[in-house]
């Protein structure tokens, strides 16, 4: 008989975790992992593999896990995924591998994400098998941005024998994994470990290099790099464009999360960067970023944290698990609400004027469009407002590189293989798609690596 439900993963209770930054889920034991792995039907056609943007051989690694051969399982995953401990934690499995799992037709899908996480953590704790990159081809590739797209592209190119340097603007590699996603969801030790794995492969990571300022793509190409991959992400924060947005107490989610995660403001004053937070915090938006900001605010000691989302729960783009965790922790979800003006005292935020919304007919994206209800204005007492309504493509590289076409959304024009309008320049991840997911950025990095390999071979 097959278990109908997934083996639960132990986690910190909501009451204790809202006061710390430790990771929420605690992981499987060996036995729990093997029990969950036994639920896999080992389908011949394996729809889950097609549901995975980097095509991890899911039935194989789950079979190895079931037999207790965790080292082999790790090796299987790593054949196509260089960042498994990260993906196991942050991928939207419910819409990818687990969404198409055969089990899901009758029961809960197999816990593929949880198993991936288990296997990757097991390997980290027990020491990874050293992977030897092939001998060098002598060909050099520059990668712009050390986010998931850039790191994946770099790892694959290195495994094809090329010499890769990653140029990263910030002082730590990881992109959003480092500055955006909080410690309690993705511990920074996990990110560092996976990035170190790339360094051990021989990938060179040059930090504090702002491409377009410190050095340009044009210079890289003329300095002997045979190709450049641009994975500079969607780091430009979008604001609401309403009055009062420059008041003190209004943050972009990027600023708030960067202060806390990258600069470790949650450990101020041991770390020098502070973050100012009021007692009543409102977060505007309904995606993962909004959930992360809200849960971070709670952990920093805010008394009341609400999420203002202009549509309803059904339209929320955040992962189901994040919404669930946020509610458990006491985040107050306010649906069909949209701030229209911010009021302050002496330059400091005091109130948000909001409108109630209702859902009208579907818009271009197929989601029902929120429309304001006339006369429904109300005032909300807030001293901190965090704007998490999305990020746009970072304009610096497109602006400073000749021959690169951008779309009207500011993203780089590139095909499925990452080929841009400039010969020798490839691109992938959020800079091409706009803000998306870790795994889709990794998938794009992989495809581009293959295309760059062909380009270097003269194809």
């Amino acid at each position: 008989m097959i278990r109908e439900t997934q083996v639960a993963m132990r986690e910190q209770s909501a009451a204790s975790r809202v006061r710390n930054f430790d990771e929420v889920p605690l992981g499987y034991t060996d036995e729990e992992a093997r029990e969950e792995a036994a639920r896999c039907l080992q389908c011949k056609k394996a729809p889950c593999v097609q549901g995975c943007p980097v095509e991890v051989d899911i039935p194989a690694f789950i079979g190895q896990t079931e037999r207790g051969d965790f080292a082999a399982a790790a090796a299987t995953i790593k054949r196509t995924n260089n960042l498994p401990a990260i993906c196991g934690r942050v991928c939207p499995q419910e819409t990818q591998c687990q969404g198409v799992c055969t089990l899901a037709k009758k029961f809960e899908p197999c816990g593929i994400g949880r198993l991936e996480r288990f296997v990757a953590d097991w390997e980290r704790e027990h020491g990874a098998q050293a992977v030897e990159p092939p001998p060098s081809t002598g060909l050099r590739v520059a990668v712009v941005g050390a986010g998931p797209a850039g790191l994946t592209c770099a790892a694959d190119l290195r495994m094809m024998g090329h010499e890769v340097t990653v140029f990263e603007a910030l002082h730590e590699p990881g992109g959003v994994l480092m500055y955006g996603i909080p410690e309690f969801r993705l511990p920074k030790d996990v990110v560092n470990y996976e990035v170190d794995g790339l360094r051990r492969l021989g990938v060179d990571i040059a930090l504090n290099m702002v491409v377009g300022k410190t050095i340009t793509v044009d210079t890289l190409l003329s300095e002997g790099y045979g190709a450049v991959f641009v994975g500079s992400g969607a780091g430009l924060p979008r604001f609401l464009g309403i009055e009062g947005e420059t008041l003190i107490g209004v943050y972009s989610a990027n600023e708030f999360l960067t202060r806390v995660n990258l600069m470790r403001a949650w450990q101020f004053p041991e770390y020098d960067t502070p973050v100012k937070l009021g007692r009543h915090v409102a977060v505007v938006g309904g995606g993962n970023v909004a959930m992360d900001a809200a849960r971070t605010a709670l952990r920093l000691g805010a008394e009341h944290v609400s999420i203002l989302y202009r549509r309803t729960r059904q339209e929320m783009p955040a992962r189901v698990e994040e919404v669930h965790h946020a509610e458990e922790e006491g985040v107050d979800m306010q649906f069909l609400v949209n701030p229209v003006q911010l009021h302050g005292n002496d330059g400091v935020l005091a109130e948000a004027e909001c409108l109630r919304m209702e859902l009208g007919p579907p818009d271009d994206s197929g989601r029902r469009r929120p429309v304001p209800i006339e006369g429904s204005e109300f005032l909300l007492d807030v001293d901190t407002l965090i704007v998490a309504v999305g990020n746009q493509a970072h304009p610096l590289v497109p602006r400073t590189t000749s021959g690169l076409n951008v779309t009207r959304w500011g993203t780089l024009e590139a095909d499925d293989d990452g080929v841009t309008t400039r010969k020798g320049v490839f691109a992938g991840g959020d800079i091409v798609t706009g803000a998306a997911t870790v795994i889709s950025a990794m998938g794009a990095g992989k495809k581009a690596a293959a295309a760059i390999h062909r380009h270097l071979a003269g194809g």
Binding site: T258, M263, P274, K276
Partner: protein, 280 residues
Amino acid sequence: MHQILAKQALGPEIDEFQVEAPRVAQAAVPGQFVVVRLHDRGERVPLTLADWDAAAGTVTLVVQAVGKTTREMHERYDVGDGVLDVVGPLGEPSVLVHEGTVLCVAGGVGIAPMYPIARALKQEGVRVIGILGARSEDLLFWVDRMREVCDELVLTTDDGSVGRKALVTEPLAELLGAREVAHVWAVGPAVMMKFCSATCSKAGVPVTVSLNPIMVDGTGMCGACRAEVGDRVRFACVDGPEFPGDQVNWELLIARLAAYKEEERCALDRYRRMVREAAS
């Protein structure tokens, strides 16, 4: 790691540092800045480039001890020590003018970033008149260097210890009244730039200022540095730091500069306590 190759006191609590940063030195142009992080617990602070030497691979930074980080630099960073991160050059270059007379008004440590701008203007062939102001003589520095790149130089101090006993706006207004001036640059504390901008507006002369809001990344990804210029919200780190001074919302800039006052005091107190404990 970026080694400090030279450190020289320019006044009480004002130091000039030569720091190794070859990539930055090669790419730098007037008007730009760097973001510095001293150590792995440090904050990212923007410092305007005071000079650079591409051949030697160094940049010059002039730093006044104000907050915790700058005080730490003053007291604990010396020749041979390393600064963990120096990122740049960041921001847009100064948009120079090519003819006529330009007034370069610098207040306090604003003299340092003014220097490369004045030098570049001089190289463009314009007539450069410098106005340097400080509270007192000991806070005034680089007078000789500025004299080399200015056709005329006016000094002012609040207490009259050297030059005219006046604020910089006095000679500025007089010169704007007496001469045909094409453009004014004003670099210094926000309040000084605000009054210089008002003086220029009154005379109908365009003025460029260099904004110094609180920054985090300095690369355009957070918006901490946003300022209102004209009717628009701009990110000073990537859209500036130079903007037309007559269009800047100064009240907002000044308020936002003070947003973290309490936390800054807390960090500074803690640092002082640590220094005292280490000494005893």
